[in-house]
């Protein structure tokens, strides 16, 4: 009971400190903070579905891009809260349709399909923008400060963590784990696997689209190659693997070091950035197969074992 109280107090203090960052941090630190928060939402949402169910999705960039473009298209006509709601709804709806079609696939077929979906979405968007809209980019004019974007993303990151926490503790989270272990057993144990997979996939997709919508305000200049950049899907996957998908804060343990590493590499090795980052990814997967969270849990088990 006391430890839970301390944990809650610690989390509240951490949240207060994070909320205060815009008042004391430089513009550069705030920009890095925004990137970290954006990836925290994407990676935590990704891990909430793909972690337990083991349906590895590479469609993150598609849902993120849908959010980016929802804002780019609708922000001139509707107030921001409505546009954000639309972005979440569109992401949810697309994931629902895609989920119904693809979640019958499993293993590598699902991975390939989601990657194909992300690319298809990007290509359709490019085609639409060129042929129907006679342009390849849009400018997002919104009177929103960097600080406001930071706070919006912080709120979304907290909401995403709370949703992921709630899902993990619920019978639905348990059912997703059963699906990940053996879907046939899940089906024959009374679990409506299709509904559960599709709805949880769509819920996490909506969070990804919201992140994209908020980042759209930050980008200002929006084009399909940026919005639907498939590299984002791989970054999220690697961040989740580095942090570890077995623990709630696992993805966060992957996001922070990898965003900081990317920042450092892009500054220090501007021409070899992707090569060095790629090598880092390979080393991470090779040396930390269970992620940082797994490594910490292993150390904790060892310490507990010694103590007893």
């Amino acid at each position: 009971m006391t430890s839970r109280l301390f944990l809650s107090a610690g989390l509240l203090v951490a949240l207060a400190v994070l909320a205060a960052v815009p008042w004391f941090a430089s513009a550069y630190v705030l920009a890095v903070g925004i990137t970290i928060l954006s990836f925290t939402v994407l990676t935590t949402a990704w891990a909430a579905f793909s972690g337990p169910s083991r349906y590895v999705s590479l469609a993150t960039s598609a849902f993120f891009g849908v959010g980016v473009y929802s804002v780019a298209v609708a922000i001139d006509y509707l107030p921001l809260p409505v546009v954000l709601a639309i972005a979440a709804a569109v992401g949810f709806a697309i994931a629902l349709v895609v989920g119904l079609a693809t979640l019958r696939l499993s293993g590598v077929y699902f991975v390939i399909f989601t990657f194909g979906l992300a690319e298809l979405t990007k290509q359709v968007m490019i085609w639409y923008e060129i042929n129907q809209n006679q342009t390849l980019a849009r400018i997002v004019f919104v009177d929103t400060s960097t600080e406001q974007i930071y706070w919006m993303l912080l709120a979304l990151a907290v909401a995403t963590l709370v949703i992921a926490w709630g899902l993990r503790r619920s019978r639905y989270g348990f059912a997703l784990q059963v699906i990940g272990e053996d879907e046939t057993v899940a089906r024959h144990s009374g679990i409506n696997t299709t509904a559960l997979k599709v709805l949880s996939f769509a819920l996490t997709a909506a969070l990804m689209s919201l992140a994209g919508a908020m980042m759209s305000l930050r980008f200002t200049y929006v084009d399909p190659n940026t919005a639907f950049n498939s590299f984002v899907s791989f970054q999220v996957l690697i961040m989740a693997l580095l942090g570890g998908v077995g623990a709630l804060f696992g993805p966060l343990l992957g996001v922070v070091p990898l965003v900081l590493l990317s920042e450092y590499l892009s500054g220090s090795f501007p021409y070899h950035f992707n090569i060095v980052l790629g090598i880092c990814f390979v080393l991470i997967v090779f040396f930390l197969p269970t992620g940082v969270a797994g490594l910490l849990q292993g150390w904790a088990h060892r310490l507990t074992g010694r103590a007893s």
Binding site: R171, F174, A175, E181, T184, V185, R187, H188, G190, I191
Partner: protein, 242 residues
């Protein structure tokens, strides 16, 4: 008044050009153990898969308590109190024994809610897994994994339990324990359909048997009568030896 729990009527399934089940019909009476027998490839497991919704039937019906199971999804069939085990034992390998059983308790026909933990404990005791609750199921022995699978099926509170070669691969001691467990489950009021090749288990446990060959029913009756049927002997031993 009829005491049939399940009526299988003209059930058929083909895979491409291969007719795995050719319009089979039989009844399962409430409270009995019915053996589904036949040589390898005769279609027994396909019948189990059709009844449990794992595969879709080409035609036919499987009426349980007035409702047709054919066309329903496996989870819907499970919630109508039909549970099954698998020919190749399936446990959730990285989850503990307790978590494996909780799967059935939480999502079966009558989710146990707050009493879920106690229900799982009772089931573990009942199938002899009391001391292994915290063990990952993937680390258990073969018979222990079979017990986990059985307990998980029972956790969904079935009226009808489909056992697909549950006794296969057990040593004599395990076999005795396994047969005693099946008798106990029947005594608790669960009707059982079992696909089995262990003949003395069939003779001891089954009230009636249905024998299949090449997708069709070739005999039905008490184990003694059906297994002595010349066509059954031919199916098992071939024409020259019969």
């Amino acid at each position: 008044m009829s005491d049939e729990l399940l009526t299988v009527d003209d059930l058929a399934k083909s895979f491409g050009g291969l007719a795995a089940v050719r319009g089979i019909s039989f009844e399962v009476r409430a409270g009995e153990i019915l053996g589904l027998l036949g040589p390898n490839g005769s279609g027994k497991t396909t019948v189990m898969n059709l009844i449990s919704g794992e595969i879709a039937a080409d035609r036919g019906r499987a009426i349980l308590a007035g409702g047709d199971l054919i066309g329903l999804k496996p989870y819907q069939i499970n919630r109508r109190r039909v549970a099954r085990t698998f020919q190749l034992v399936r446990v959730l390998p990285n989850m503990t024994v307790r978590e494996n059983i909780m799967t059935g308790v939480l999502f079966g026909a009558d989710p146990a809610g707050r009493a879920a933990g106690r229900t799982a404990e009772d089931l573990m005791q009942r199938v002899g897994l009391g001391t292994l609750a915290g063990q990952p199921a993937g680390q258990l022995t073969y018979i222990e994994q079979k017990r986990v699978e059985m307990a998980r099926a029972l956790a969904t509170q079935p009226k009808l339990l489909l056992l697909d070669e549950w006794l296969a691969g057990l040593n004599p001691t395990e076999l005795r324990e396994g047969m005693a467990l099946i008798e106990q489950i029947r005594a608790d009021g669960v009707t059982i359909v079992m696909v089995e090749h262990v003949m003395h288990a069939i003779r001891r446990l089954c009230d009636r048997v249905v024998v299949m060959n090449a997708g069709a029913k070739i005999a039905e009756g008490s184990p003694e009568t059906a297994l002595a049927d010349p066509e059954v002997v031919r199916a098992y031993l071939g024409t020259d030896d019969a």
